[in-house]
Symmetry: C2
Subunit: 587 residues, 2 copies
Amino acid sequence: MKYWSQTYIPTLKESPSDAEIASHKLLLRAGLVRKLGGGLYTFLPAGLKVMQKISQICREEMDRAGAIELAMPFIHPSENWVEGPRWAAAREIMYRVDHAGAGKGRAKEPEFVLGPTHEEIITPLVKTEITSYRDLPKNFYQIGTKFRNEIRPRYGLMRAREFVMKDAYSFDTTDEGAIISYGKMKEAYTAFFNRCGLKTIPVEADTGVMGGSFSHEFMVPAPVGDDDIVYCEQSGYSANREKATSGIVPKDLADAAPAGALEEFATPGIVTIAALAAAPYNVAADQQFKTLVYMGDGKPFLVILRGCDDLEEAKLGALGFQLWRPATPEEIEPVMGAKPGSLGTVKGTIKNPGALAGIFADHAIRLIGNGTTGANKDGFHLRNVNVTRDLEITRFGDFRSVRAGEPCPKCGAPLKIDRAIEVGHIFKLGTKYSEKFGAVYTDDQKQSHPMVMGCYGIGISRTLQAVIEQSNDADGIVWPWQVAPWQVLVVNLDPQDAAAKDLCAKLAAAAESAGAEVLIDDRAERPGVKFKDADLIGLPLRLTVGGKGLKEGIFEMKWRRAKEITKVPIADAERVVAEAVRQAAQA
Amino acid sequence: MKYWSQTYIPTLKESPSDAEIASHKLLLRAGLVRKLGGGLYTFLPAGLKVMQKISQICREEMDRAGAIELAMPFIHPSENWVEGPRWAAAREIMYRVDHAGAGKGRAKEPEFVLGPTHEEIITPLVKTEITSYRDLPKNFYQIGTKFRNEIRPRYGLMRAREFVMKDAYSFDTTDEGAIISYGKMKEAYTAFFNRCGLKTIPVEADTGVMGGSFSHEFMVPAPVGDDDIVYCEQSGYSANREKATSGIVPKDLADAAPAGALEEFATPGIVTIAALAAAPYNVAADQQFKTLVYMGDGKPFLVILRGCDDLEEAKLGALGFQLWRPATPEEIEPVMGAKPGSLGTVKGTIKNPGALAGIFADHAIRLIGNGTTGANKDGFHLRNVNVTRDLEITRFGDFRSVRAGEPCPKCGAPLKIDRAIEVGHIFKLGTKYSEKFGAVYTDDQKQSHPMVMGCYGIGISRTLQAVIEQSNDADGIVWPWQVAPWQVLVVNLDPQDAAAKDLCAKLAAAAESAGAEVLIDDRAERPGVKFKDADLIGLPLRLTVGGKGLKEGIFEMKWRRAKEITKVPIADAERVVAEAVRQAAQA
């Protein structure tokens, strides 16, 4: 048992003005963390206890799944990253480490970086350590701090510069083995979040800069989430927005017949979809082709969408570029022959088609069939543009953003979209990293093959905050039993009274022998302050001792989740408290 | 219990060539760590288990002493350091953190630094959080990773760039309170090292760049240590070399009477103590004055020693400069009027005495009385130099290095000097940081005072290696019971045999119920390999199952520390194992 006076839980009446969301406010008000700088938080005793509990639950589930704990350094030699497959993208979000002596003749790349994740460290380690199929499969995990150059840290621990993660890396001999390892992690994640009392939705996700063949995110629905999840209540389909598709293009859609001859027309000053949709042109947005120019690893490429659709930028990841970004007007004109607003991909109209890395079209433009597009001549467009007859297309793909209400790709029912927070992410990586780093094994025929990898992350500090975001009310946090900093709060209303003090110790001892952790509020504060703080810090079970009740031979028992207060005769104290603790622990 | 095949303990027959000392070799050979880069180590499963055990012992002792655990960020805004009292010195040993976008217009100081210690973080936090004497004393601690720009990392975890420390910071209202807090930490440290099975010697130490009024280091004697400890076996006096004094200058030494008139003599080409001690001059080194020029925070100052003595640079810390270093010849000549080799401090001979920040003389020059010194004129010296009559001295102090065999300052017995490793360090800081950051409290009279601080560090990862350095033999590590990754190793010589497997599980279960952690070697390796590995990884108790013994109804029990092997009848297995575990745990 711990006395409030012997630990440090500085509750606040008001929340600091820069806390925007409920969980961030409660982290501060309940004395769990304090801000050191943007995206940098000190964990105060109660916050640290929760973090240690969540870490321990995670450790147990990883161990149960056969993963092996180790701990890699936070500082990485940057050569590991430079040699790896994603330095160009990763260097933007990584902190660089050097020292005062490195001021002059500073190298282009720093000597060290701070790890945002550890594929570039574990793969070379495994390459050196493990060479035979006999020593595979292996899944290594660690629980530790990660660093990310967040330009705009916000929402407390949700988007921080320094945060705690569990990351795991599996190594298998075969693709089938890798899928089994992936499945074990998916199960362990589900068990972990359940034990933390956190409701999550696993969704299909984009593999992004990680590469790899497929992935799932574990999402916590929350209005303040950074991500959108797209889901169908009927079929159970779910995916994050970056990966989500819809069924708006029928599978059996026939290519449209040409509607007439291509025809150029003057559109002076018209450079937006909306302007062309208005009088006097009246070309509906869903009958326009939208032509976007991007730079992929330094080369321009085109993406064609319907005028009414938005590009889902992450989907460009399927094209195989490491880095991509919108081209600047200066980059566009020499290639296309026109400025943005008059661009198109009709054969023969692009000024320098040889400069392009490709022309990629969203499937949905087939719904247009014949439409209107830019003529690659400032102030001119073309009409009667037939997809099959007129457009230069390297490859069709899914590039558009799904909208709520579109048909589910599985069953056709309307899709829903909600904001959500990502708390876990599992990837089947394949051989991207093992090939790059030469992490190979020899099979029983002495043949050499790259190991098949998976990687698996849980945001431990983010999970902590997500629990609060999902589990609070107007008065404060409502901790789930397993991750509460202490499960039982004994409130002593008469801390100077020997009988009250004795009873508190007795109740605490009873709760402890039943397996709970106990905090005793022994502060010299008014009852009102104590009750308000009790609700704010949100321990699941409150036992109140003192005042009139004590004289009458009773104490009070109240669950944080409920309104009712039970009066318990002191004679029954041990039995009742032990029973309550056991029930709560099993729930 | 854990099966060897389900964890990862990659033992090595040979130790990598860059491992210089026994403990570093054993860390690698016993599969505890692997090197990622200079001073950067990955902790493999067994190494991490030891680190977690040592951390937990430390946590328990800190909690017992009333300290409160929290966790501060690793990344610090550099303004915290710039505002603090030791940025000039600390910036040299700190890593700087920035990002790819910071390339152009890079500020002189980085946005962030990596914390080597946390005074600059905790003091402003406490300043904001705690304002009343009612909330004091408080002692906050954390266990976490620290970073240090080691130019020459070596000896494995001993001098690493990234390492794990426990750091604690106490805040008291009075000096007496601070001394009590200091005493509690000293006790807790002693208990901690004892529980880790590590013999340490607490020595008086220099406060160095930390500042503060006094400090103790906890040292582990070891030939490869970075530090020297000076001690007296008779009086118990002990101090590190930087702080050690001896009794060579008698307390009642009278100032010498002048031996004659000052006399200049030509010493062409003579620029060393040794040369002047040789023919034809024959001035014994202990009759020469040695004049050293240093720069202190940019200003020159002088230190005078006997010619036979060496300067103990750290002792210059007593002079109040933040940074000091030897002056260059270019800095010396304009001030002194001569080059090094002809310097002195006889009144009137210094060219520009106004430029000096002071002239500081070691007490031992009083043993010379009348001697020889440079004339501040190249190629000339002065003889009959009387300390009292002739020398300009701002202040006397203790600046020389103690030598083995000199008299103990307490009892006069000869001092000994040994190499040692520092594993813990406690400082009484006073108000240096609280004044700088404004960490004040109001007393019961509403008067405001700076808090009186202490700070306390334990090198957790260094302790791990120190245990190995102190506890090993030719065959491998000999783990103390409390910090062994597992306490009991069950060696299965016939892993394919069902009876052997069953007995192993039974022995493991018996050891576990008695409170031990068990590793079962179930590998398909020859007995010779298993026994060699058993000695190498050094678990305290080995139980061997299989082969002839199993058929005869016995298993073998052997302590790692001992040579004898006991044959135990299987029928007695549970009792004997439980008994052995209980005895070892209490030892």
